[in-house]
């Protein structure tokens, strides 16, 4: 029999820590700080609207790009939140989660050999999606000393004549780093100067603490060269509804729509109706969740400080990224031993790129009680390690 598989697919490495994930998922009694999704239920208003839409028999396809009513609400929301105006019919496409948006944006924009700059540590899909779109991923390792922000120097160093796209993953999973207006200004300048495009993954935009999220699309000359990816999963606690959107120049959105139309048809109808309610009436619920995350964030920072675990202060998403280099083992070793001995699951930093070595991603999408229990065990574990030395 012939080899049934595509070389391109086979050559994509499965995530290096899949083995670790498999071990964790089999340990039923483990407590976990490893999940990248909110612990809150979707706000009831939204769920109720979803139920209602099913009762009304809204069980058919929507137009490919999504319900106009939803896109209108998205346009208003973005105008309000990031100060960029998008035309609901021309600049917005409703996708199956932010992930689909990333995929189709890369596929719509890349020709074979085009380079895509991917700052890491960052979400796991940018690199394989680039490869699938025949692009060449070029990693920019971010540094803790810069609070895992992307600097102008780091960006400039990696730009070649082949560079076409910069992926901008802020607020960042897994580091919790954000890019402020001041941080973004020199990046935007370079992007314009070198005629690049940006895929700005802003899925955690609702979750910043202290300063409001700023989109690179709001800088002069940037709206025309940015695809903003966002969605309902994190801010609205709607992961399982699989609903996101991409916004950008109509020339790109039109081509993305082609891929979306042939591969997906449309995002789930039920989710789209529910999300309209979310955008119209759930500002309070979103704010309450943000407040809870912020309290847990402060708690963790303080606890790590007390334990003497080095950690920069995250300002976004719901992750904290402590450094474990003092223990002289890899992130995966640390996470594996911690799991085996204390039955707590955390994610090794290397899951998000090689430069995540020496760090752990700890999610605070857990109740304060759960966090206390897990941190108690972490303290015992690292006390033991320090005595071993």
């Amino acid at each position: 029999m012939r080899n049934p598989l595509s070389k391109k697919i086979v050559e994509i490495q499965p995530s290096g820590i899949r083995k670790f994930f498999d071990v964790v998922n089999e340990m039923k009694d483990a407590i976990s700080l490893g999940v990248g999704e909110p612990d809150f239920d979707t706000p009831w208003r939204i769920r109720e609207e979803g139920i209602y839409s099913l009762e009304r028999g809204r069980t058919f396809y929507t137009s490919n790009a999504g319900l106009l009513e939803l896109k209108e609400e998205i346009a208003k929301y973005l105008e309000r939140k990031i100060g960029v105006s998008y035309h609901p019919k021309e600049n917005i496409i409703v996708t199956v989660g932010g992930s689909e948006g990333i995929d189709i944006a890369l596929r719509a924009m890349l020709d074979p050999g085009d380079e895509v700059l991917i700052p890491q540590p960052s979400y796991v899909s940018y690199l394989p999606c680039t490869v699938l779109a025949d692009g060449i991923p070029v990693v920019i390792p971010l540094k803790e000393e810069n609070k895992f922000k992307l600097t102008k120097e780091e960006l400039e160093e990696k730009i070649t004549d082949k560079t076409k796209i910069l992926v901008l993953p802020f607020p960042n999973n897994p580091t919790g780093s954000i890019m402020t207006k001041e941080d973004l200004a020199p990046i935007a300048e370079l992007v314009v100067k070198h005629d690049l495009f940006v895929i700005s993954d802003e899925i955690y935009s609702e979750l910043t603490y202290g300063t409001d999220h700023v989109s690179i699309a709001s800088f002069p000359g940037m709206k025309e060269r940015t695809i903003v990816i966002n969605g309902f999963s994190k801010g609205f606690a709607m992961t399982g509804w699989r609903l996101g959107y991409a916004c950008g120049p109509s020339v790109i959105i039109e081509q993305m729509l082609k891929i979306h139309q042939f591969a997906i048809m449309c995002a789930p109808t039920n989710s789209q109706y529910a999300a309209i309610e979310g955008l119209r009436n759930c500002e309070n619920e979103v704010q309450e969740m943000r407040r809870a995350y912020n309290q847990r964030r402060r708690f963790l920072i303080k606890e790590f400080e007390r334990m003497g675990l080095q950690c920069f202060e995250p300002e976004g998403a719901f992750y904290i990224f402590p450094c474990i280099k003092e223990f002289g083992m890899t992130s995966e070793e640390f996470a594996t031993r911690f799991l085996e001995q204390y039955k707590v699951a955390v994610v090794p930093g290397t899951a998000f790129g090689d430069c995540g070595e020496g760090f752990l991603r700890i999610s605070y999408a857990y109740s304060l009680e759960d966090l206390k229990t897990a941190l108690g065990r972490l303290e015992q574990f690292i006390d033991g390690l320090r005595k071993e030395k």
Partner: protein, 162 residues
């Protein structure tokens, strides 16, 4: 949102305040929290620290009734005087002045139906200004003070996910 509101939002859900912990959660220091709480107690913004109890789960017999009361307000004293006569009974839990078809809504706790009906017929109805009463007994409490009393199924989340 100012610090007072932040503290109240927290305490509304959990009055067992650990000052040290609350200071961390709200990003301030213990002294600030302690002072604000003391001040709010003084100003009667914080009026008490109660415990939310689901009596149904204890062996204790207890009955809660909502009573609608229509009254004729008295000259010069309006509703306040009548309200006072009612709320001074210790078994009366809450008294609200209400707009609409009736004037007061009273929440009453008693051990038995009999005890409550006796209160209505012997104490409440005979008050001069009281014209009519309508008593509703609570059959089941689903949610009280913003807390759902029926236990919720644990969320099914996978353990790790990038």
């Amino acid at each position: 949102m100012n610090m007072r509101t932040e503290i109240l939002r927290y305490m509304e859900k959990n009055s067992r305040v650990n000052l040290e912990e609350l200071a961390v959660l709200l990003g301030t220091d213990e002294v600030t929290i302690a002072n604000e709480i003391a001040q709010m107690e003084k100003e009667k913004i914080i009026c008490g620290y109660h415990t939310l109890i689901d009596w149904d789960k204890t062996g204790e017999e207890s009955v809660t009734a909502l009573i609608e009361v229509r009254v004729t307000p008295q000259r010069d004293q309006g509703f306040d005087r009548i309200a006072e006569r009612i709320y001074n009974f210790p078994e009366v839990n809450s008294v609200y002045l209400i707009s609409g078809a009736y004037d007061f809504l009273i929440i009453l706790e008693g051990k038995t139906l009999k005890e409550i009906s006796r209160f209505v017929s012997e104490k409440l109805a005979p008050i001069d200004s009281v014209m009519t009463t309508a008593t509703h007994f609570i059959l089941k409490k689903y949610k009280d003070h913003g807390t759902i009393l029926t236990p919720k199924a644990k969320a099914e989340r996978v353990l790790v996910m990038p």
